[in-house]
């Protein structure tokens, strides 16, 4: 009995030790040291700018928010000749792991470091203090403050107001819908703007609204099937235009729009122009464009010219950071009306609510 138990203990311990041992002897003849040591802070005398970018969950290739940041980085790589290193977040990680990711980039000689998404808020605030010589930027967050932190903020509600107005102008049934990916404050801004825009056109318009998942389940940003079901329900209940702010789930909303022979509104990028959504370009009447790529590129450009400003940089309608698209010509007939609203928001005549 006792012997069994002891040998079992030994075995269990051995299994762990062996894996490490196997790993250790595997590389004994390798001379190059791989991976920057997290404790080393010696930045190489860089003749070239090395950009470190940390993605939120989903990473490059999510067809939405992270991809927009990637596009800005790619543009900087080809136009500003910067070097890049991209790291991605994993599902269910802790803040400590996010901090470690940023620290790894900062200590590995990457400067500036860009964090994509408000999830990095606390981590950026903490790590930026440890590396005062490194410039940090964070997208979608203004809570992290510091002399070396630039907050890239967007007025999503303003862009959403315009597509809300477009939806109300285009709707024949006086019934429109909003599909949000995950029920988080950031997406509430899209909803609030959309609602305000629709009501500005038609005060008694019926607005259906649905979020696909509740946090901490962030699956709603990457589940087209859920998006399709939600949108189908809205079309069945009488809506004829649905706006989606649901990341990867948006494809499902477009599918439902096509099946119902109705209209849909895209988000983040000019989705009617994206090859990935070519099948749906007939139903996408417009998209609320959030120019994360422009913000990332601007930040990098400022860095190369030594003109980075810390604190919030707000990308609103006035700065051209958010906008609506006209690809496909589906809203050409109402364009002048939407532009009127746009001008009023820029002038400050209309203040769009954020929640």
């Amino acid at each position: 009995m006792l012997r069994n138990r002891v040998s079992k203990l030994a075995a269990a311990t051995a299994s762990g030790a062996l894996l490490m041992a196997a790993a250790a002897c595997g590389g004994s003849d390798e001379t190059t040291t791989t991976g920057a040591s997290a404790d080393a802070s010696s930045a190489p005398a860089a003749s070239q700018v090395k950009v470190g970018l940390a993605y939120d969950i989903g990473g490059r290739g999510d067809g939405s928010f992270n991809d927009a940041a990637a596009a800005g980085l790619d543009k900087a790589e080809s136009e500003l000749k910067v070097e890049k290193k991209e790291l991605e977040a994993t599902q269910g990680e802790t803040d400590a792991q996010k901090e470690e990711r940023l620290r790894l980039l900062a200590s590995g000689g990457y400067n500036p470091v860009i964090a994509v998404g408000f999830a990095y808020s606390g981590s950026v605030a903490k790590v930026a203090k440890e590396f005062p010589d490194v410039k940090f930027a964070i997208v979608d967050d203004d809570a992290a403050k510091g002399d070396n932190i630039t907050n890239l903020m967007f007025a999503e509600e303003q862009g959403s107001f315009l597509v809300g107005a477009a939806a109300a102008l285009k709707s024949e049934k006086g019934n429109v819908g909003f599909v949000g990916g995950v029920d988080v404050p950031l997406i509430h801004k899209f909803e609030a703007g959309f609602e305000a825009g629709a009501k500005a056109v038609k005060p008694d318009i019926k607005i259906q609204s649905k979020y696909l998942t509740q946090p901490p389940d962030f699956g709603g940003f990457g589940d087209p099937a859920k998006g399709k079901t939600a949108a189908q329900g809205m079309y069945d209940a009488g809506a004829d235009v649905v706006y989606q702010a649901a990341g990867g789930s948006g494809a499902g909303v477009f599918e439902a729009a096509k099946a119902a022979n109705a209209m849909a509104i895209g988000v983040d990028s000019d989705q009617a122009a994206l090859p990935a959504y070519a099948d749906f370009k007939d139903v996408i009447i417009t998209s609320m464009i959030k120019k994360v790529d422009v913000a990332v590129f601007d930040f990098l450009k400022n860095y190369t010219t030594g003109t980075v400003k810390s604190g919030p940089s707000v990308y609103d309608l006035k700065a051209g950071g958010v906008d609506y698209s006209t690809t496909g010509g589906k809203i050409d007939d109402i364009k002048s009306k939407i532009d009127e609203y746009k001008q009023k928001i820029i002038n400050g005549e209309i203040t769009v609510p954020t929640s």
Binding site: N4, R5, S7, K8, L9, A10, A11, A12, T13, A14, S15, G16, L18, L19, M20, A22, A23, A24, G26, G27, E30, T33, T34, G35, A36, S37, A38, D39, K85, E86, L87, E88, T90, Q91, G92, E93, T94, D95, A96, Q97, E100, R101, L104, G108, F118, A119, S121, G122, D140, D141, D142, A143, D183, V184, P185, L186, Q214, P215, P216, D217
Partner: protein
Amino acid sequence: MNGFVDRLLGRVRLGGWLAVAAPVIAVAFAVLITSVVLLIAGSDPVGAFTTLAEYGTQPRSMAMILNTGVMYYISALAVAVGFRMNLFNIGVDGQYRLAAVVAAGLGGAAVVPGVLNIVLVIVVAVVVGALWAAIAGLLRVYRGVSEVISTIMLNAIATGLGSWLVSEHFGVLTGNDLGTRPIPDDAHMPGIPLIAGTPVLVNGFIVVAVLLGIAYWVVLNRTRFGFELRATGKSESAAVASGVSVKKMIVVTMVMSGAVAGLIGMPELLGASYKYSNNFPAGLGFTGIAIALLGRNNPVGMAVGALLWSFLDNSSNQLQLLDISKEIVQIMQGVVVLSVIIAYELVHRYRIVAEQRRVSRELAAPQEAPKAEAAA
């Protein structure tokens, strides 16, 4: 005699060199498969394993690995309590998240000062976790609902309930993140400078985790309750015959599993984030299931499993620096679990066949006996 599930959950012991053979085969197999996957993906396995070894031996990373491992270990213990009596508590995930929300809400309100607040937060988390798990136990006992189904559903309900609590009651908006009010400074769990050569402190909950591991072993192996629990898990009818109330055991075990689950979020809540927000780690309950399987419900085995899992998770950034996709980590974790299960099963079968051969040889000596059938 012994079913596959018994062997899977480590209720059958291997003796002698066989006990060493199983994990050795498992690890060799896992390394082999991972190398093949790396080669197919166009990466250099030698480089990858070197990076992993270098990463795993730095003091700083060791502290990080311990910190994540503490949560994984508590989660595995919560799952293992149920496993030992054939209760599959898939709801550990919902139990710890709901427990963390309520505990964080109360802790942030700072109704009592200092250390008392830490105690309050922990007690509330344990109670909430236990109550939430009790629902599944009661449904099983009084309505015959499989706990697998009910706990999965309760996970979804816990998500909704937690989200509602945060947005309607406890929530404070900072930037774009919605979370509970931070727990005041005087009620933070202090870290321990356990590893020399790094400023990173090890989460104080490592002590709690070690104590829980010891308690798990003592309760299961040295108490009447533990005996009844294991007996019920091995054979319900035999347990009933020897006077064990199976219904009571089911409820009590679910409650215990849930109570331990309530603690999973505490290292993060009291030692790192100090609030429950949209950013709070999710899915730890499922990690616990994998680690309980990996550690075969043995307290030391699960500790090794938790550290291995945490090591792989934490090395994801390092691998990405080498342009190795972070998904390789998940592949490795999956392969390790599968190879442990397969290796143990193979060794068990080898043992059974060897035993049968021995018996048939002995029987065959005096008279002509039919050839022993290989065990399926």
